[in-house]
Amino acid sequence: MTNYKIEIQNLVKFFGRRLIFQGIDFSFTSGNVYGISGPNGSGKSTIVKIIAGLISPTRGQVIHIYNEKKLNADQLHEQLGFVSPYLVLYDEFTAEENLEFSAKIRGLSFNPENSNQLLQDFGLEKRKNDLVRAYSSGMKQRLKFAFALLHQPKFLILDEPTSNLDNDGKERVYKMIEREKKDKLIIVASNEEADLALCSSVLNLNDFKNKK
């Protein structure tokens, strides 16, 4: 089993003078699904971006440990899969081209069988040669899961994973989470009860707004 661990130490984030959250200490370990909840504007997307190393915290730190070794920023993006509504894939390319480019830019060889399997898992195999421009918002959301899983990451961040998805799409996502949680660390940021029901523990950001 993969040994992936994330330690959050005294995390504080301000946007300008506005406090988003403060004093967050938490630790995540692989083999579990963790939830991050809170009302709109509570900083769910902000904290997952900080954990993913996409933005910096105002204070505090996030430490990624894989097989007892600390990961630096360059190693982190090799281990991270990220899905969110604000992730936009290249709409001038087809689904398959998007996956091929992402694999090659990561320095991996593109495996069409693996790509086809992922597209099939999310019900996109028949439309894989269509430009993403022609996709509906739900189909784009499905494609983001294939994009996040293609390089077989050890750590998944799913920010509002079921947004724009129909019931079939949601079922496919829940199945994927059940399958992948065995050897991965998964963090789900959401307000949907059904999403949070999959999590073994939930971090509520409301508790960190005015913490002393």
Binding site: A52, L54, I55, S56, A73, D74, H77, L80, F82, S84, Y86, L87, V88, L89, Y90, D91, E92, F93, E97, F101, S102, K104, I105, R106, G107, F147
Partner: protein, 219 residues
């Protein structure tokens, strides 16, 4: 290899969307036409033609080269790049793309100037060629890092030439001097100081850009 894959992605994207190529081609045609109309068939001096040559190159670069980062930011695809590649890979990939674009643009401008302006006479082709090669590299590096800086700003269109002017000024002045030398028929040995300045500019800009890009890219 990763940078080359990113360049290939950008190139294929450019072929489909024509974000930069159309802007560059139109700008080159419009500025050269305006110059042709304004001189109205009169013969202008060689040095003035050399100056106009670099003016066209500077403003054409301003109109097209920012697209490398601005198009990612405008389409919202920056996050994809942040997730799949390290900052050094992204900078190298975008730099290769801009280098190719600058070389194509400057070769086209050189051909057009040679055909349309009688006074654009290069007597020392070797000096001109070296100036063009190192000048292109300098323009591409400076344009790439400035494009990364302005891509996060709200008034990208105005900011790009304003920020570029002081950074590209030493380069353009050296290139003007070298173009004058090449029109006078001076040898490489006689132009060695200016050529050295050009190479130093490229090395300094390249190093500073690689060091700065991490900070620009992250937040």
């Amino acid at each position: 290899m990763k940078s080359f894959s990113l360049f290939k992605k950008d190139w294929q994207s450019e072929l489909r969307t024509r974000y930069a190529v159309n802007a560059l081609a139109m700008f080159i045609l419009v500025t050269i036409s305006v110059i042709m109309f304004s001189i109205a068939g009169e013969k202008i001096s060689e040095y003035l033609t050399g100056g106009l040559f670099w003016v066209v190159i500077f403003f054409s670069a301003m109109s097209g080269l920012s697209r490398a980062f601005v198009s990612e930011e405008e389409r919202g695809t920056t996050l994809v790049l942040q997730l799949i590649a390290s900052p050094s890979t992204i900078f190298s990939g975008k730099l290769i793309f801009n280098l190719i674009l600058v070389f194509i643009m400057n070769i086209a401008i050189t051909i057009l100037f040679s055909m349309l302006f009688e006074s654009f006479i290069i007597k020392s082709a070797s000096v001109f060629l070296l100036a063009l090669i190192f000048g292109n590299i300098g323009i591409a590096i400076a344009s790439t890092i400035i494009a990364a800086i302005i891509s996060k700003a709200s008034s990208k269109g105005t900011l790009y030439p304003v920020l570029s002017f002081p950074i590209l000024l030493p380069l353009i002045l050296t290139l003007l001097e070298l173009t004058k030398f090449s029109m006078d028929g001076k040898s490489i040995n006689q132009s060695i100081i200016e050529l050295s300045v050009l190479i130093c500019y490229d090395v300094i800009m390249g190093t500073a850009s690689y060091l700065l890009f991490d900070f620009i890219w992250k937040d």
